[in-house]
């Protein structure tokens, strides 16, 4: 009977949301203190999915670590792969040949679209619009088919290798990508029909989880959440990597830093990604796929930090090499981990229903947070 007393006598209600909850996107646990339906405190409990990826990185060769990295942010495995490959390449002092660079850009951008589609679907589902989820997955399926055809896997793709890419393009790759890119803006317009102007969507997202540009920078938010707060910063422009300098695209920024702006930023990003892919697929240069380098990867002694704009934000790799085939220290700077920190700031004062909206809008992946 003691539980009953705590339920009704205390002015606060402590609800443990997760780790088994439909909308904590995995195994996130948020300990909510509620006053009625209003949140007065929120503490994240993470680590349920900890697999010691960084430790594994110290015990595997650089090449072997790549498939493991696919399992950190498994929604955007291609980005993880690209980031690590480029970091090691930088340390080695090699550059992937242009053909590989272009293929990398195409696949990474497709991956960004697929990651955003998954975000869109789950985010909309959290807010109750279940149909968007299935429409988004339909388009995501098309991208996964391209991945499967190219690399042989759909999700944990192990797409690139250090020094370039492993696989030659398959026949019909360009046509398949072209067809997708051509069709995709129409599909985005459909999602927007269901959400963007929908009054319920607007009510549920505008003014929810607001974070100012100053706070966003202080909390280290990156990716769409940062841009939605009005900071026009994208690593693809700020520090271009791969072949991004060759393409024209815009960086969408929001103004209010609320859930709605983050939604709009990601929607626009998907269009821009499609634009990049459309440009890149038309001018894939000929040439080798792998840079000339030793089969056994032994970077020189030293350390390197390299980061890329993953769909969720700045994905960085800090590698310390002791000159052997294994990294001395392989640190992943996970965007979701850092972004999730702002959850507390965003939800306090809002209602329970907004907590799921904010968790959704941060676009977290627990595989990456817990590593």
């Amino acid at each position: 009977m003691s539980t009953q007393e705590t339920l009704f006598d205390a002015s606060e209600l402590t609800v443990s949301m997760g780790p088994q909850h439909p909308s904590t996107h995995g195994v996130l646990q948020v300990k909510l203190k509620l006053d009625g339906e209003r949140v007065i405190d929120a503490q994240c409990v993470i680590g349920y999915l900890h697999r010691g990826v960084e430790k594994l990185g110290e015990n595997q060769t650089y090449g072997q670590f790549l498939p493991t990295l696919d399992r950190t942010d498994y929604i955007a495995a291609v980005s993880n792969c690209l980031g690590f490959c480029e970091a090691v390449e930088k340390l080695l002092g090699v550059t992937a040949p242009p053909r590989a660079q272009y293929i990398r850009v195409i696949l990474t951008e497709l991956n960004r679209i697929s990651s955003h589609l998954l975000w869109l679907g789950t985010h909309a589902l959290d807010i109750g619009a279940m149909t968007v989820f299935l429409y988004a997955f339909r388009e995501r399926e098309e991208i996964l088919k391209i991945f499967e055809n190219y690399s042989g896997a759909r999700l944990t793709t192990h797409m690139f290798r250090i020094g370039g890419t492993q696989y030659e393009l398959y026949d019909g790759f360009q046509d398949q990508v072209r067809a997708f890119v051509k069709d995709f803006p129409k599909k985005v317009a459909e999602y927007e029909t269901l959400l963007t102007e929908n009054r319920i969507w607007i009510n549920r997202t505008r003014g929810v989880g607001v974070i100012s540009a100053k706070d966003a920078v202080d909390m280290g938010l990156t990716g769409p959440p940062l841009r939605a707060s009005g900071v026009q910063w994208d690593l693809r422009k700020a520090k271009p990597y791969a072949a991004y300098a060759d393409f024209e695209f815009d960086i969408p920024v929001g103004e209010h830093g609320d859930t709605y702006d983050r939604y709009m930023v990601r929607m626009e990003e998907m269009r821009q990604s499609a634009r990049i892919v459309a440009q890149a697929v038309e001018k894939i240069p000929d040439g080798p796929l792998m840079a000339k380098m030793s089969k056994i990867i032994k970077p020189p002694v030293g350390d390197i930090y390299h980061s890329i704009e993953a769909p969720k934000g700045e994905l960085g790799y800090y590698i310390v090499s002791d000159g052997s085939t294994q990294a001395y220290r392989a640190r992943v700077r996970p965007p979701s981990f850092v972004n999730l920190q702002s959850l507390r700031k965003m939800v306090i004062g809002h209602m329970v229903a907004d907590v799921v909206a904010v968790i959704g809008t941060l676009d977290i992946v627990l595989g990456e947070i817990d590593r």
Binding site: M1, V15, P22, M130, T131, I200, V352
Partner: protein, 346 residues
């Protein structure tokens, strides 16, 4: 003898028929829901049990009935057990007054296609159906768990607010019909020559919005919002008891749809009941007209669920009190003035 037949035997038979058919209807409705939503979502829905999954509504209840009945250790046992029943019974007994059609002849005796024609039918429906929420509140409380409690409290607040607006939205119809009996309201629509929806469009829209909210369906499905409260008030329920809630919810959907049809869409009447040119439509029996209209509304329920996000609790309250209630009252006032000026539409 005649008294016995009219007031005991005939109603009993009808009650038994309704009690037998209603669960089947609900089962069919679940399949309908899954199929409709699936097709809207470019899926196929259940396909395995029977051709095109047609036997799914039979498989589901069997599964639910065979499941273990779990009562949480800390739950308030008796209330926990009674709550689903409290929810279910009102949802069923409301059907007593809903007229599915006019009298038909069975072996020469006229049989009314309703259990009874209460002269306060509308009031009866409103009051009885609002008892159902008690079960939800009790279920949330008795579970002694946090998500159900939140769901129950949401449900209580939602019911209280929307009950008022729902009542007011019907008032226009009642003034035009001049009666509270559902059968007479349908007859009044025949006399008026118009379904009341054409005379009371705002009233109808308000009624249906409130009805959706009353039945806890999307976009107002807050008491069981699965992405927020896991499953709301029935989180701790399983198997058979869960299926009772399920039954009650879907029965309530049928009630609201039937009420909408009866009050606004001419019940069992064909379109434009007084226009002779459309008399060929009478080939279709009245009960089919009724059923078809109800299905349309049920379809709308599912359609909304497939298309829209979910409101937040405070927004729901705001809509109820700030928009729906004033609009409903305005509707009543305007209707009252018009009825006084032009007289009842006869």
């Amino acid at each position: 003898m005649e008294f016995a037949i009219n007031y005991v035997v005939a109603p009993l038979i009808k009650i038994v028929i309704i009690l037998a058919i209603l669960p089947l209807l609900v089962a069919a409705l679940t399949l309908f829901e899954r199929k409709v939503i699936a097709f809207m979502q470019v899926r196929l829905g259940p396909m395995r049990v029977g051709p095109w999954g047609l036997l799914q509504p039979i498989a589901d209840p069997i599964k639910l009935l065979l499941k273990e009945d779990i009562i949480p250790e800390r739950a308030d046992r008796w209330i926990f057990v009674t709550a689903p029943i409290i929810t279910l019974i009102p949802a069923f007994i409301v059907f007593a007054v809903i007229p599915f059609g006019p009298s038909i002849n069975v072996f020469g005796t006229p049989v009314n296609l309703y259990v009874t024609d209460l002269n306060i039918g509308v009031l009866y429906v409103l009051s009885v159906s609002s008892v159902g929420v008690l079960g939800i509140i009790l279920a949330g409380w008795a579970s002694n768990s946090k998500y159900p409690l939140l769901g129950a409290l949401r449900s209580a607040a939602q019911m209280v607010s929307y009950e008022v607006a729902l009542g007011f939205s019907i008032m226009g119809v009642l003034m035009m019909a001049g009666t509270l009996s559902l059968v007479e309201i349908v007859e009044a629509q025949r006399n008026a020559g118009w379904w009341f929806v054409f005379l009371q469009p705002l009233g109808f829209i308000l009624f249906f919005i409130c009805g959706v909210a009353e039945t806890n369906r999307a976009p107002f499905d807050l008491p069981e919002a699965e992405s927020e409260l896991v499953a709301g008030f029935h989180t701790e329920y399983s198997g058979f008891r869960f299926s009772l809630f399920f039954l009650a919810e879907y029965a309530a959907m049928i009630v609201i749809s039937s009420m909408a049809v009866t009050l606004f869409w001419g019940g069992w009447l064909r379109p434009f009941p007084n226009v002779e040119a459309l008399a060929f439509l009478d080939v279709v029996p009245p009960i089919v007209w009724f059923a078809a209209k109800v299905v349309v509304f049920l379809y709308c329920y599912l359609w909304f669920r497939a298309s829209w996000p979910r409101y937040r609790y405070d927004q729901l309250m705001k809509i109820g009190w700030r928009y729906l209630l004033p609009l409903a009252i305005a509707n009543v006032i305007v209707t009252a003035v018009l009825v006084i000026v032009f007289g009842e539409p006869q």
